[in-house]
């Protein structure tokens, strides 16, 4: 009479549905971490949107001025920093003059980090690039899209001094640079607000300046309508965009290497989604059978 109640045996599918989330975390950690130890440099197909960025820079003659806005912080660094480094390699290698700024407080520091990395390259170091002549970092100014709008009339009103406190009227590179009419291209690296959308709305639409951008993978899809309309000449979307750009300039960097990690992580996620759906349908079938039996 005193029968012990055995706990109901969980089926394989039940176990699969309620798998401990720590197992998923562990597998993702392995999928992301292990590939970093392998030096894989696969060839990447360069898509038209990335080709747009590459061609925009290639079409500029040496000495052209490019305004580069760093609108992100270290949180988005894995995706955007490789783009920044590849862009500096490409543009400085082609002797373009860079006017760097940031609408995010951390942006100008990210620019300095990328420059520091790029200056280690032999072909860039031998150019003996000088601050104030070949590139300048204007620093950060508060004001978001109002800064973009005001720069359309006068850079000096938004940035009276560069990041080091030097009046921009005393910087050789800034001589003759009054507003967007005096720059040949804008390159924006953005992880949110303010970012590419604001540059399109306040610089491209109003002052008709040419814009290319690098965005996080989350943000990039929202920029595709601007490419179709021609408001944006090209975009680097996420790690893949960075890797394609590195391929286009012929110098594989971290973005290409990180793509292996991203591939493994995507495969793991896809496998988990398939398993989750198999379990869902098996349990659903089981439940409807039980209901049919009454």
């Amino acid at each position: 009479m005193n029968e012990e109640k055995k706990p109901a045996q969980k089926s394989f599918w039940d176990k699969l549905v309620s798998v401990d989330r720590r197992i998923i975390f562990l597998l993702i950690a392995v999928a992301v971490g292990v590939p970093l130890f392998f030096d894989v440099s696969p060839s990447m197909r360069v898509t038209p949107v990335v080709r747009g960025v590459y061609d925009s820079i290639e079409s500029l003659p040496a000495g052209s001025k490019v305004l580069v806005s760093f609108d992100y912080d270290p949180g988005s660094m894995p995706e955007l920093q490789p783009m920044a480094e590849a862009f500096f390699r490409h543009s400085l290698g082609r002797d373009l003059k860079l006017i760097i700024m940031g609408l995010w407080p951390q942006g100008p520091l990210q620019a300095n980090l990328a420059l520091e990395e790029v200056f280690r390259d032999d072909n860039i170091r031998t150019k003996n690039l000088q601050y104030g002549i070949d590139y300048v970092n204007l620093g950060f100014t508060a004001g978001n899209e109002v800064v973009i709008d005001r720069m359309g009339h006068s850079f000096e009103e938004s940035y009276p001094q560069d990041g080091r406190g030097t009046p921009i009227s005393e910087i050789p590179l800034m001589k003759g640079v009054r507003n967007y009419d005096n720059v040949d291209l804008i390159f924006n690296l953005s992880a949110g607000y303010p970012g590419t959308q604001e540059w399109v709305q306040y610089a491209v639409d109003v002052f008709h300046v040419k814009l290319v951008a690098g965005n996080t993978a989350v943000q990039a899809p929202a920029m595709y309508p601007y490419i179709q309309t021609g408001q944006l000449s090209g975009i680097l979307g996420g790690m893949k965009g960075g890797a394609e750009y590195e391929t286009a300039i012929g110098k594989s960097g971290v973005a290409v290497r990180y793509m292996f990690s991203q591939t493994m992580a995507h495969i793991i996620i896809c496998v988990f989604i398939i398993m989750g759906n198999l379990a869902y349908f098996s349990l659903k079938k089981k439940r409807s059978k039980l209901e049919a039996k009454g």
């Binding site: 798998v19 989330r21 998923i24 975390f25 597998l27 993702i28 950690a29 992301v32 696969p42 197909r45 898509t47 912080d73 270290p74 949180g75 988005s76 660094m77 894995p78 951390q106 100008p108 520091l109 300095n112 980090l113 520091e116 970092n137 620093g139 100014t141 508060a142 004001g143 978001n144 109002v146 709008d149 005001r150 009339h153 990041g163 080091r164 406190g165 030097t166 899809p221 929202a222 595709y224 309508p225 179709q228 996420g238 893949k240 793509m259 292996f260 591939t263 992580a265 995507h266 495969i267 793991i268 996620i269 896809c270 988990f272 989604i273 398993m275 989750g276 759906n277 869902y280 349908f281």
Partner: protein, 216 residues
């Protein structure tokens, strides 16, 4: 008067910003208002800092349960700002590599900030496993699109569909999804948002929407 004055100011500034786009002589007023905005934006940073310190100092003073977190916030704030302001060569050099500020940025702020963002990968994986189900036609379409993009935009795309003719590989399909259905959806969302923003702005300028003043 406490309500009327802000309403009138909002209406004047809002209308001026719109009208100046069509009447260039009014750009002078627009520039003036933008100057005010810059000043307010700069002061907002100081206000934010003071607020941060006040809220967290209050927690510590009143020995609230989360006082230790308040202490960490104040310590973190001082640990970055004091070296940045006083020991990093001043305005001329604090952004340069090699300064204490730069060192702290690279070795403390940088990894902490990147770590917070990186955690998303784990939560996305876990959430996809538990929530991504082909329950109906719509969710199945979403699932298929997600698969095409997740596999089509990484290296495996060429490995598993390289045998297909050019233009029909998984990567091409992913590009098609991004260029057409995705862009069409984005455009619809953008138009909807733009109409919403325009109507909200109009309500604010006309004084119908007063939530920004607090209450109501």
């Amino acid at each position: 008067m406490r309500r009327e004055v802000p309403l009138v100011l909002t209406a004047i500034v809002g209308l001026t910003m719109i009208v100046s786009h069509f009447i260039p002589p009014l750009n002078m007023l627009k520039d003036l208002f933008e100057d005010w905005f810059f000043i307010i934006a700069a002061f907002a940073i100081y206000l934010g800092v003071l607020n941060l310190l006040q809220v967290n100092a209050d927690k510590i003073y009143k020995k609230k349960a989360d006082a230790p977190f308040g202490a960490v916030v104040i310590f973190g704030f001082l640990a970055i700002t004091v070296p940045g302001l006083f020991f990093s060569g001043g305005r001329e050099a604090f952004l340069d590599p090699g300064t204490p500020f730069f060192y702290l940025y690279i070795n403390v702020y940088y990894p902490l900030s990147a770590t917070m963002f990186a955690l998303l990968a784990f939560f996305v994986a876990s959430a996809s496993y538990r929530a991504f189900r082909a329950r109906n036609v719509e969710s199945t379409m979403l699932l298929v699109a997600a698969f095409v993009l997740m596999l089509g935009r990484v290296l495996i795309s060429d490995w598993i569909s390289g045998w297909l003719p050019e233009g029909y590989m998984l990567g091409d399909l992913a590009d098609w999804v991004m260029d057409f259905p995705q862009t069409a959806g984005q455009k619809a969302i953008m138009i909807g948002i733009a109409l919403g923003v325009a109507s909200s702005a109009l309500r604010v300028i006309l004084g119908l929407e007063r939530a920004y003043m607090g209450g109501e």
